[in-house]
């Protein structure tokens, strides 16, 4: 079956226009297109923004002194920490291990001496980073407290721009230390996976369910015209969603953008196409809209859980990494984080681009094979 023979541009435009008109009139779908990104941004963004309060913290005071005491008092007053007590190193470790505390703050031996000598001592912070959302803000709070306490202790001096000690943070159990910066770019991929696969999945099964597919098949339209004609409107929708998320990332969540915006959109386009291909293929396999929906979720869940969006990828068991490597979202996350946060250029993308291309090629072949030119 050669799907490309007799491709008619005019017919293709016709299918595309029809899809746009129907989309325009379908309030629910339209609402979903705007609603899903906003809802997810709110949910995740809210979690990022809401600074957790009263995080249980243990203090290991190997070298008590006036500064250390003032600092602990300031921590206690800050609302951010709840000091559960002074313990020794072994106890502290135990507390952290059993999730009794979120942080252990250690004033190592010689802290005061170094401070007085003007040689910045090390303030050691061990964080339970299994919940990175919780630890994200703590570091900056600790730095700020250092400046405040120092300024109070020495009222004569100018307010310093850095704390008088070196804050050394050990993120335990989650070495990648995912933070807000990581979540918003990840959200980009999650939203696109969700809506792109679902929308196109529904677009085709809807025709089948309403009986209009029979009419479409009775015309000379070819499978390629129908499939691609139905895809293009959703590419535009995907780009709108991406723009929404990026604007929110920039202006609401202050996520930096170190890389090239055009490059980012290029990568996004590739990812959108991969998902649309999958959606169209789902819809030519599914018998009705419900099945298409179920298939979408069957794909969405592992994408969400095994791609490195929810859990750090390197922390997952081997089998999960193997599955994760098949999913386009896994590679997309690396690409987007690379471009946005590390400023990666075009020459550093290929390692992630080819797995997405491969995925797309295989799925497209499957889709064209299963597309039913007849009602059989």
């Amino acid at each position: 079956m050669n799907g490309f023979s007799g491709f008619s541009f005019s017919r293709w435009i016709g299918i595309l226009l029809k899809e746009f008109i129907q989309l325009k009139r379908d309030r629910l779908t339209f609402g979903m297109i705007i609603g899903i990104p906003i809802m997810q941004l709110m949910l995740f963004g809210f979690a990022i923004n809401s600074d957790p309060k009263h995080l249980p913290t243990a203090v290991v005071m190997a070298d008590p002194g006036p500064f250390a005491r003032a600092y602990v008092a300031a921590m206690r007053n800050s609302d951010y920490f709840k000091i559960v007590g002074s313990v020794n190193e072994r106890e502290a470790n135990d507390l952290l291990e059993r999730s009794k505390v979120q942080f252990v703050v250690t004033f190592p031996p010689g802290f005061n001496r170094d401070l007085v000598r003007g040689k910045p001592p090390v303030l050691l912070v061990e964080a339970d980073a299994t919940d990175p959302m919780a630890t994200g803000g703590a570091i900056s709070v600790l730095n700020h407290l250092g400046i405040d306490v120092f300024a109070q202790d020495m009222p004569g001096l100018n307010r310093p721009s850095a704390p008088p000690f070196e804050l050394r943070v050990h993120r335990r159990y989650n070495p990648e230390g995912i933070t807000a910066y990581n979540v918003v770019p990840g959200l980009l991929g999650v939203i696109l996976t969700m809506t792109m696969v679902l929308m196109t999945g529904l677009a085709m099964t809807r025709e089948r369910e309403r009986g209009t597919f029979e009419n479409l098949l009775a015309t000379p339209a070819t499978p390629v015209e129908v499939m691609t004609g139905k895809i293009v409107p959703y590419i535009l929708i995907g780009l709108i969603q991406v723009t929404l998320v990026l604007l929110a990332a920039r202006w609401v969540f202050n996520v930096p953008m170190y890389g090239n915006l055009l490059l980012l959109y290029g990568v996004v386009l590739l990812f959108i196409c991969a998902n649309l291909t999958l959606g169209i293929t789902f819809s030519s396999i599914a018998r009705n809209q419900l099945q298409a929906m179920q298939m979408t979720f069957f794909f969405f869940l592992p994408s969400m859980l095994l791609s490195g969006f929810m859990f750090p990828f390197r922390g997952m068991p081997e089998w999960a990494q193997v599955v994760g490597n098949v999913l386009p979202l896994t590679h997309f996350l690396v690409l987007v984080r690379g471009i946005m946060l590390k400023g990666n250029g075009v020459n550093m993308l290929w390692d992630q681009v080819w797995p997405i291309l491969l995925f797309m090629g295989v799925v497209l072949a499957l889709g064209l094979k299963t597309f039913r030119r007849t009602l059989d």
Binding site: K18, Q22, L216, P220, L375
Partner: protein, 310 residues
Amino acid sequence: MDNAPLVIDVAGINKRFGDKHVVKDLALQVREGEIFGFLGPNGSGKTTSIRMLCGLLTPDSGRGTCLGLDVLTESAAIKRQVGYMTQRFSLWDDLTIAENLDFVARMFGMKDRSTVVDKALDDLGLSGRRKQLAGTLSGGWKQRLSLAACLLHHPKLLLLDEPTAGVDPKARRDFWEEIHHLSAAGITVLVSTHYMDEAERCHRLAYIAYGTLMASGTAVEVVTGQHLHTWEITGTGLQGMGEALRALPGVDLVASFGATLHVSGKDRDALEATLKSRLRDTPLKMTAVPPSLEDAFIYLMQGSQDQFQG
């Protein structure tokens, strides 16, 4: 018309869905310009047969041509010249009347689309409502719009699947006028229906039951082909008579038509003797009448049931 070229000429067509044999060895011949009626009880395979003719379903076996093109291999070319009106309304509810027509015109690659669409709207008398969503039309209008849509590309063959189901008598009458006009203009029409009056308006008929073609020909041929003898029974006290007669010797078929009862059988003498003895002491009158098309169809339907249940 008997020497007009064959527009549909298929034989030995079979279709199975899973282990359900839906169409069995179907053979059909339809001549150019003919109105060909396709009848049969629900689920007998009419829609399936029509879909195979226009390439929407692939027959499991069989051979034949439609408009001179091979039904198995040239369905793309067949689609271009066939107007297919589906049993269920299958235009897009969420497109307007004009948008639907325009879309169909585009799919068939028509030039000068806006003229074509405007003319179709004028002919329909829907110019003033061109911006109305197709889904909001009444049943009769949906059916007229569907017909207009499948006529847009000037097909040579029309396949109409129960086009008048659920349509009021006046609209049905208008619809059939239109079909006769089209036929006079040389368009071949294959139409499936459950209505007897519509069957009688067809030039030729085919009756299919449980996937098997039971009879075909003109209405008269189909009726005489059953070799039935029919008596019409009238009078007061008809209630219960039908049930009482059904099991008697010589009675093959009892059908009630309002205030009268049609009793038919193949064995003329046995039937007459039965009726005479049964009706002797009643005020009912019996008259020999020619069997109607409906008698023939009910007889065919019964026969096929016996055949497939037995």
